[in-house]
């Protein structure tokens, strides 16, 4: 029988469009310092570290985690890096969970960090074209990089495929309302990149196209920052919690799936995010959740794009595919609705510091479960071309 694993400490640095004042060394240490402080333990009490860092080029180093081992005080201990595209953070949680459940370690640090906007395009004198170019090195290197593949256009393929299969869904008025809602929710997140950027649905609809069908205010923003969790197996978690006085939030389920990257017969279904369906349902099964619409109260999902947020919610089984817009139209995720979705503002408003993002989502889900005295949350990460990768975790407040 695998060991039960819980979150006993968590922290994030502020997410910023650009951290001029700190390198990724200091950001990583900052999040680590705060996470061990939150758990009221010493870094010496931590057995292993799991790094979530997405892209070597962002950090301008291959194996960018190697200097961190000593910088965060984990020298001479186990350290492994996970890199799974946008789903890096969620996969890092999943990996740490497996090692603890398998009794390899009693405690682990899950540490995500990214320094994205040092990349700079000197032809347009702005960072964004170079940041998205850096991500575009993640496309298929034989068949897609040379023809303008980007993270946005590959996710747009899925969104348009979904709209082909379910015409009349993902209405611009609905996506605009979701974006506006998230911009209001972010107001209480002091670590967010866009804490004060509250927008109206009209502003969202009036914002410019970046990649059709995505408008500027429907897309996540690239950030720099770090996030950390302290995980522990059951007995150790209880001992830490007794000492810190903070409740344990258990990770009762994890689930992952990586799809095909090519489309067509026996390949990727371009009208769905099957990885989201499989990842979430595997996590439900492990957590013993039969009906997610009755069990899940908080969702911290990886909203790379607002339209994808809606599709992911349908894949999670939280809303029907054909009536996915009921998230807004029936108020499911609106204030006082059945579900609280991305109370931190999501990646669109809190920011997307890729390797750290899903760990930030777990930090937020834990805080919200404790603060609101709720029981169950779903944390999600998506990544790679055409939303190929997914990892999910179920968090439960005892």
């Amino acid at each position: 029988m695998a060991k039960k694993v819980g979150i006993v400490g968590a922290a994030v640095t502020p997410f910023k469009g650009k951290w001029y004042q700190k390198t990724y060394y200091e950001l990583a240490q900052m999040a680590t310092r705060e996470a061990v402080k939150d758990a009221n333990i010493s870094i010496k009490d931590v057995d292993a570290v799991f790094y979530g860092i997405y892209n070597d080029i962002f950090e301008r180093a291959c194996i960018p985690e190697h200097p961190l081992q000593g910088i965060i005080g984990m020298q001479n201990k186990f350290g492994i890096r996970i890199s799974n595209g946008g789903a890096t953070g969620a996969y890092t949680i999943s990996a740490a969970h497996a090692y603890l459940a398998g009794e390899r370690f009693k405690t682990a640090l899950v540490l995500g960090v990214e320094k994205a906007t040092d990349c700079f395009d000197f032809t347009s004198m702005s960072a964004t074209p170079e940041v998205i170019k850096t991500i575009a090195w993640s496309g298929d290197c034989f068949f897609e990089q040379k023809i303008g593949w980007s993270a946005s256009d590959s996710y747009a393929e899925i969104v348009l495929g979904y709209m082909d299969e379910y015409p009349g869904t993902l209405k611009p008025k609905v996506t605009a309302q979701i974006s506006s809602l998230l911009s209001k929710q972010v107001r209480t997140n002091p670590y967010a990149q866009r804490q004060f950027d509250q927008v109206t649905p009209e502003e969202v609809m009036n914002s410019r196209y970046i990649v059709y069908p995505f408008k500027e205010l429907e897309i996540c923003v690239y950030s720099e920052g770090a996030a950390a969790l302290i995980l522990a197996e059951e007995e150790t978690a209880r001992a830490i919690a007794r000492n810190s006085g903070k409740p344990i939030v258990w990770i009762t389920g994890v689930g992952e799936a990586n799809e095909h990257s090519y489309a067509g017969k026996n390949q990727k279904n371009m009208s769905h995010i099957v990885s989201d369906y499989l990842g979430s349902h595997r996590a439900y099964e492990m957590a013993g959740i039969k009906d997610p619409t009755k069990s899940i109260q908080i969702v911290e999902l990886h909203d790379a794009f607002i339209q994808q947020l809606e599709i992911s919610m349908a894949e999670f089984g939280l809303v029907p595919y054909e009536t996915v817009d009921s998230l807004v139209e029936d108020g499911i995720m609106m204030p006082d609705g059945r579900l609280i979705v991305n109370p931190c503002g999501g990646l669109v408003y809190c920011g997307h510091a890729v390797g750290a993002s899903n760990i930030m989502s777990a930090w937020s889900a834990r805080n919200e479960l404790i603060k609101r005295k709720m029981k169950t949350a779903l944390v999600h990460g998506t990544g790679s071309t055409v939303a190929q990768y997914t990892a999910c975790a179920i968090l439960e407040h005892e």
């Binding site: 001029y20 004198m125 004060f196 410019r208 990649v211 090519y262 390949q267």
Partner: protein, 336 residues
């Protein structure tokens, strides 16, 4: 310029060796120009026949599983992973097919593709194939707009005149824009297409009312430009950028100047601007600058014409100017 003569990293992308200091909260922080670069003489291995067929013979190859018969294009496997790795055989494909799903259109591209936007990229199932080939999509009729190419639209593979053995040697256009002979022809090249040349729009004579609207709009734009130049955040949108733009409307012509954070609008004609913006109604531009609708979208929807596609980049910066000014106003309000 010929693809063959281009450098793998174009010179214009390479910054000088330089550093600068930025001061935040009375502390100095260093910024260094830098790069991570690696050159390759990359082996294309088992994929060589596919790329050589494109380069030298203007043919498209797929691979067919000898057991289940699935035809994959591109031929990414030598053995079928669905049939316990039964061998596959290369087969020649037709050069037209249907879009697997509605393709996205990139307006704001990565730094490597800024000069190619707007473009579509989607997946075409060529006749006889079971899987989809990822391709760039263009229209011969100007700027690619939503709705022009959809799921099921028939498209034709077009070969670049200069081919180097890369996937960018091919792209697709809708067959509805081609003659039946062109659709039937194998190895159709880009120079054989009838590309519509960009043409500056002509406007009707203005009425008295148009002239009054022009005057008022210009005044409002000048006032906005002045505010933008004073806004710390808005200035960031055009930091390091320099452009002089001639703006032609039905009722008059004026000039916009962007100069490293400064934004100025003057009631004058420019002899040799960097590019021209033409919009019949000056309110289209005014609304954009007032953050009441994106200027980018006005270009896409053909309400506003630009003389150089590459200047989409400047249009994005104008949109950001408007957004950043509004953001700064919101932040100031929130801080009160």
């Amino acid at each position: 310029m010929s693809e063959k003569k281009r450098k793998v990293i174009p010179d214009e992308f390479i910054p000088e060796v330089r550093s600068r200091v930025i001061t935040l909260d009375n502390k100095d922080y260093l910024l260094q120009n830098d790069a991570m670069f690696t050159f390759y003489e990359r082996s294309i291995g088992e994929l060589s026949p596919f790329f050589l067929a494109i380069r030298d013979e203007k043919r498209i190859l797929g691979c067919k599983c000898t057991k289940c018969g699935i035809v994959r294009v591109p031929p990414m496997v030598t053995h079928c992973p669905d049939c316990d790795f039964a061998p596959t055989q290369l087969v020649e494909m037709e050069q037209a097919g249907k879009m697997n799903t509605t393709p996205p259109i990139t307006y704001f591209a990565t730094s490597l593709f800024l000069d190619k936007a707007p473009f579509g990229r989607g997946r075409v199932i060529l006749k006889g194939a079971d899987t989809a080939l990822s391709v760039m999509l263009y229209t011969t009729t100007g700027i690619l707009v939503p709705g022009l190419i959809k799921k099921g639209t028939e498209v034709k593979v077009i070969f670049r005149d200069e081919r180097v053995g890369q996937i960018s040697d091919i792209f697709c256009v809708p067959t509805s824009e081609l003659t039946p002979q062109q659709v039937a022809k194998k190895g159709l090249q880009e120079s054989e297409l009838n590309w519509e040349a960009p043409k500056e729009p002509e406007f009707p004579k203005p009425s008295k009312e148009d002239l009054a609207i022009y005057k008022q709009s210009l005044k409002e734009m000048q006032a906005l430009a002045s505010k933008m130049s004073q806004s710390k955040r808005a200035r960031k949108a055009i930091e390091g950028w320099k452009r002089s733009i001639a703006v032609k409307t039905k009722a008059g012509e004026f000039a916009m100047f962007i100069n490293n954070g400064d934004f100025r609008i003057e009631d004058k004609k420019l002899e040799s601007p960097d590019f021209i913006i033409a919009c019949e109604d000056p309110k289209t531009l005014l609304d954009g600058l007032m953050y009441k609708g994106a200027i980018t979208d006005s270009v896409i929807m053909k309400k506003l014409w630009i003389s150089k596609n590459l200047e989409f980049n400047t249009i994005f910066k104008l949109d950001r100017l408007a957004r950043f000014l509004v953001m700064e106003q919101k932040e100031k309000k929130a801080a009160k």
